[in-house]
Symmetry: C2
Subunit: 201 residues, 2 copies
């Protein structure tokens, strides 16, 4: 059964990140708590879209479809499919003519961000985007403190390729090389404010 | 069973366009015949990627996942899912720092291209991309003559919004306002050659 929101949009519980943080007790909150990083970014991107700030979308989850049934008088049903590993980052789009590309990850760790959150193919994609002069970064959230940092892909790539030294990014290094993203109501995570200041200076 | 190419990549028969044209009799051909427009574009994008010309990918088919099984010691299986309508165009990426966004369609018609190949949400997305100064166009193939044209989104939008006058784009209008894309071996469809000449002039 497809569950729908009042506006007719489908409820997509299975497509949100599995590590959903718990809601606040009241159930209604205007702070950031209770939302996953993905939800915050999706709402931010919707805000950007509706206010003509930028056109940035999350890419659909890549799925390998094996078996589809076509029942009479109703929609095609996918009966067998598998999750595929994405060959790119999750988000891309356009801001003032420039290409924007990023990945978003969160950790429950307090003092460091494990590099195992990223994969070879994502790092490779980031390098390719950089070589085409695209704007490429990661959004990293420390979920216990609700802090989000924007880190240019070049910094991540450098740490990723030196994992024999360290398996994680220290929070102090993220603070030194990255930029903290302001958390608000609308937009929730105004990462383009940072993008504007560092890539359009 | 997942069928794999010799290089380990999965065979994705079900994800290619349903209107696959027949292969030539020999089974091997270096001309364009026998490939769908989607296959030609994917191979072209791979060529661009490997030769560091551009980073352009097809977005995954959006799927609404309803039921997933997690068998022990094997991959998660999606047991029920439905095709969702995409809210954007199929292809996007970066070329020399600029954002590139396009949709590709083919017709068996000989003298016109039906506008029903496009949908409101795609046209709306193209307008949004244009307002962010992204490069936005469509690739249109007349499959019976193997001709492919690049048409700027502004032209398509104009015709789309005047469908009470005509329900299709006349081929002569496409030839007048668009640019024929050279068909070759590598890359198969060098649409960025056209992009370079008209958007980077």
């Amino acid at each position: 059964m497809v569950i729908r929101y009042p506006d007719g949009k489908k409820y997509a519980a299975l497509q949100t990140a599995p590590n959903t943080r718990k809601s606040s007790k009241s159930g209604i909150t205007y702070s950031n708590r209770g939302m996953t990083l993905e939800e915050d970014i999706n709402q931010t991107n919707l805000y950007y879209l509706e206010n003509q700030v930028a056109v940035i979308h999350k890419k659909p989850t890549p799925v390998q479809i094996v078996d589809v049934h076509y029942p009479k008088r109703s929609a095609a049903v996918i009966k067998e499919a598998y999750f595929k590993q994405a060959s790119t980052t999750d988000y891309n789009g356009v801001f003032k003519g420039r290409y924007i590309d990023f990945e978003a990850k969160e950790t429950k760790n307090k003092t460091s961000f494990p590099l195992k959150n990223f994969h070879d193919h994502q790092i490779h994609h980031m390098k390719q985007v950089r070589s085409q002069e695209g704007i490429c970064f990661v959004l990293l959230r420390f979920s216990t403190t609700d802090e989000v940092f924007l880190l240019d892909a070049s910094i991540l790539i450098n740490y990723y390729e030196n994992q024999e030294e360290r398996k994680s990014l220290r929070k102090e290094d993220i603070q030194t090389h990255g930029y903290q993203v302001p958390i608000g109501y609308a937009p929730r995570l105004d990462y383009l404010q940072i993008v504007q200041s560092i890539y359009f200076a």
